[in-house]
Symmetry: C2
Subunit: 289 residues, 2 copies
């Protein structure tokens, strides 16, 4: 594969719109970088799906992003990071980072009582990846995970500041509060949209960690280390930001324009299944329980 | 294509587990019939996706079901019925029915004040297909649709009899109640699981119509008319009920076993994308709004 230059775009992908909270942070913190974003809106959400399926979808997306000659890939989805990052990193030469590692490092660092809560999708929490990462940075960390499957729907319904959402968050956080956590990782890219509700329910004494913010910081360091930062003085060819989705572009735009600091001009729909790789395909059976 | 005999199975499909409320009714009302069920668990839900995507997914599934030599197909998903039934019927020789028509006929018949509410996914309500069908059976019908995107997640979270669910249903039904509806179609296959909450919120004076029940009745008539009913005296070859999914079988089993009157023995995972048909593929762009 031809070496991709430092003026190439960064590839960012997510199961849908949630990853735009990561794209937003990259735009803020690395304003000179170009970006190609893919949202797998035809197959979202990933959070309720199995690891093998999420790996297969992620491989297809990586294959697509590589046709755009990206210089690095950010998996802007906690579920895909939890399920597929290790596999993708093994398979790819270009740098690939996910949203879990940087957030775990920060959380492991800021906690004072070493009691850390993680909220996320069923798949993210079930994977135990946050706990694994946290233990690397803070071996004393006690990690308490809680799957919150309703919160993505509530965020997408637009009930961001709402008594029902507050009640749902309260119920989900109850277990974690009994554990006296002092740090809470918002381990799903939709959750920063519900930040004020988390703040209200969790109280002022709990530090909220936003992986979207942390991964943008990590990306900046990574690009600097590998001499891949964009050359500000070179005239850029092509669009600065490109957006691709697997379902209808219009629907994506609506939500996207409420998350990003500017309105997206064009979104292209592609058939992501065309980027199928030769995967291990297994027929599984579920024996009578 | 070889003519499929009356002892062939019925093909039933849904985006996931919701269609099992339809499968359950078919098992009850047509206990002698064999069935092949497919749940598209890798790509669920359909309710937030665009019509073209739902048509493409439905075509792949029909192609798969035909490899099982089904004698008829039931689209056990309101969204897929709303978005894809007409297309599929045009393309197929074998009988294909959906969940909307029978429910609309019954609702159009039982209403006394001709004010009918429909609750369903964003895609189902947005399609206007219930209204179209209702007008065919009752031209005086005033139809009020309400998309309830949170209810599938609440049902799958298992919060079936819950104050939060009651509050969400109350909020969704408020608009319909102002319209003085006397009949309410539960236009999503998950909603019968929330029937008691709907009953409580809507009150005793509103007739609830369950499309799962009505489509099983319609299927029975259809099979009789076309002389396709199973011959009770013939020894059946093969399994009575077969279940296929596109994501991990285990996850499907858990929910399935809480919906069906017996525990599923085996579920097979297949790669539904292998059944891709030669579709019209379009790149769409979303112009700046």
């Amino acid at each position: 594969m031809a070496k991709t230059g430092s003026n190439a775009p960064i590839g960012v992908f997510d199961s849908g719109v949630g990853g735009l909270t990561v794209a937003r942070e990259i735009m803020r913190q690395l304003p000179e970088e170009r970006m190609v974003y893919f949202g797998d809106t035809a197959r979202l959400p990933y959070g309720t799906k199995s690891q093998n399926t999420v790996i297969r979808f992620s491989r297809q997306i990586v294959r697509f992003l590589k046709t755009k000659e990206v210089k690095a890939i950010v998996i802007a989805c906690n579920t895909a990071t939890a399920c597929a990052l290790e596999e993708i990193q093994k398979e790819q030469e270009l740098p690939v980072i996910g949203v879990i590692d940087a957030a775990a490092r920060v959380a492991g660092d800021v906690t004072e009582n070493n009691r850390i809560g993680v909220v996320g999708t069923t798949a993210t929490i079930g994977s135990g990846m946050y706990e694994k990462a946290l233990k690397q940075y803070n071996e004393k960390a006690q990690v308490y995970g809680k799957a919150c499957p309703l919160l993505v729907s509530l965020a997408e319904e637009g009930w961001l500041h709402d008594t029902i959402t507050e009640e749902v968050v309260s119920r989900y956080l109850k277990d974690l509060q009994y554990k006296s956590i002092d740090t809470l990782i918002l381990g799903c890219t939709h959750y920063p949209l519900l930040r004020s509700t988390f703040r209200k329910v969790a109280g002022e004494n709990v530090t909220l960690v936003n992986p979207a913010y942390e991964v943008a910081m990590e990306l900046r360091s990574l690009l600097q280390e590998r001499a891949l930062s964009c050359d500000k003085d070179v005239e850029q060819a092509g669009k600065k930001y490109e957006f691709f989705v697997s379902d209808a572009a219009e629907k994506f735009c609506e939500l996207a324009n409420s998350i990003l600091p500017y309105d997206i001009e064009t979104v292209q729909q592609i058939n992501i299944e065309d980027f199928e790789t030769e995967d291990f395909r297994e027929e599984t059976t579920c024996k009578k329980m």
